[in-house]
Amino acid sequence: MKDIKYSSAELMIINAARLLRDSDVVFVGVGQPNLACNLAKRTHAPNLVMIYEAGVIGAEPERLPLSIGDPTLVSGSLSVVSMYDIFSNYLQRGNVDVGFMGGAQIDKYGNINATVIGGYDHPKVRLPGSGGSQEIAAWANRCYIMTPHQKRRFPEKVEFMTSAGFIGGRGDRDAAGLRGRGMVGVVTDIGMMEPDESGEMILTALHPGKTVDEAKANTGWDLKVAGQIRVTELVSKKELKILREELDPTGIYLKSNA
């Protein structure tokens, strides 16, 4: 069999797409999450309903959206509502199955920092802030994040908790009375992490050719490994073709380092 070549972005997007189920209602961001959702919709999840935080429900973009408010999301969608409605009627009310998160850092308990590095009042690096992520993390039924596997992205504890995963452990999330199951999958370019019973992110899968040592070396906490570690299915030609030819033909979001 000929080796199929793909970038780390393609590897993550394809594996994230596979986590979506048909008929999921998914809260999508632009960029890689948008590609993962559109890929899922064109393969195993034709009934996926995509919601964008700009207030668009059931978007079927004809071109690659370049911002969260791209007009291509609106034309042909099922509904367009105000921001207050999207966050209250859809998210807070519990009408969203999946939330795709972004963020600079994610910690051992799946908490995300998208706000600041180096102290809030005198920031060393000021990041964009929550946007919708604080509420998505709290109220979607399942949350996923995809991010390259690098130590600086996976600290033991985030210095600012923009959005809650399991906080200091699963009991904390339950005590806060949040909806849903929290951060259930972290897709990286090495493999995948999922929470154990305590809410700690542990290594549960490796992509073909990747090793446990690589994963451990690039994680900021003492990464535990699941008893039975899965190897993810090879990236298929069909998945790559849809990504490269239909969804992102100029490679805006696909071309990150292999």
Binding site: V30, G31, E53, A54, G55, V56, L66, S67, I68, G69, D70, P71, L73, V74, S75, G76, V80, V81, S82, M83, Y84, F87, S88, L91, Q92, N111, T115, Y120, D121, H122, P123, K124, V125, R126, P128, G129, S130, G131, G132, S133, Q134, E135, A137, A138, W139, F160, M161, T162, S163, A164, I167, D172, R173, A176, G177, L178
Partner: protein, 300 residues
């Protein structure tokens, strides 16, 4: 009574130094023309509130109009960092007050409804609560879990760009409707800019599309293409190339000053700005129509 005046006069009459300004529009219908007019008129010490400060506030901060920003996501959408606001915050040169999107929008919703505050469910992420004393938690008087509350935001002036309005300020808008309606009802004064000024009969032919009624509007200004480099759904496309270009322009103070000199101070109004953009850009941003199906309201 007609409220139709020039944008220059509207900004001069209704925006004062020190005001809390809310320029509405979540990525769509962002009132750039009004932002540029505020810069030209040299307004100072403004408190600029917007869920997403976007390039409009980056430019206003660069021009020295602002003393504070209130926001919930500070980025160049689809591109990356919002360099000027970000650097000003990192250097301690600009005050800021921060919420999540829902917190920010709930503040406006409370303001629009005439309430002192509104509750939201807890999110478990308490760090923003710790750094922003305006975010509080109170017991649910009906015995449930504590709720988070945020105070009403009632801007001194809201600026809203719409696709079409009549001369009294009754406005139709469609596409992404973000927080325009809430901003208009929450504010003490409302400046509308519109792609088209239409007869009242056009508004009356489709009353469900009227998001903002004339009764809350102070001034109506006819300003086609006022939202460039964002867009007006059905009129022209978003100028993503400019959003990318701004990432470079905003890298240095010199290139920002050059931009302001050429595209803000150097043009009289939006009409001159649009002409200056030139036919190539006009063509790149032009779109084909895609119509909705007609509905009947019935004759009664």
């Amino acid at each position: 009574m007609s409220k139709l005046i020039s944008l220059k006069k509207a900004i001069s009459d209704y925006v004062n130094d020190g005001d809390v300004v809310y320029a509405a529009g979540f990525t769509h219908l962002i009132p750039f023309a009004a932002g540029h007019e505020i810069i030209r008129q040299g307004k100072r010490n403004l408190i600029l509130a917007r869920a997403t400060p976007d390039l409009i506030y980056d430019q206003m901060v660069a021009a020295g109009c602002a003393k504070k920003v209130i926001f919930s996501y500070m980025g160049n959408p689809g591109v990356g960092s919002l360099r000027i606001v970000r650097t000003a915050i990192e250097k301690g040169e600009l005050e800021w007050e921060e919420y999540s999107h829902f917190g920010m929008i709930t503040r406006l919703q409370a303001g629009a409804s005439g309430l002192p505050f509104l509750p939201m469910n807890q999110t478990g992420a308490t760090d923003l609560e710790k750094v922003n004393p305006k975010i509080k938690r109170i017991p649910d008087p009906y015995g449930g879990k504590d709720v988070i509350v945020v105070p009403a935001l009632n801007p001194d002036v809201a600026i809203v760009h719409v696709q079409r309005a009549d001369k009294n300020g009754n406005a139709h808008l469609w596409g992404i409707i973000g927080e325009q309606k809430e901003a208009a009802f929450a504010a003490k004064k409302v400046i509308l800019t519109a792609e088209e000024i239409v007869a009242e009969s056009v508004i009356r032919a489709d009353p469900n599309r009227t998001m903002i009624p004339g009764i809350v509007v102070s001034a109506v200004c006819h300003v086609p293409f006022a939202s460039h480099p964002s867009y007006s759904q059905g009129y022209f496309d978003r100028d993503n190339e400019f959003y990318l270009a701004w990432d470079k322009i905003s890298e240095s103070q010199e290139s920002v000053q050059e931009y302001l000199d050429e595209w803000v101070y150097g043009v009289k109004d939006r009409n001159a700005y649009w002409k200056k953009l030139g036919q190539k850009v006009h063509k790149r941003l032009s779109i084909k129509p895609r119509y909705s199906e007609k509905i009947s309201y019935g004759k009664y």
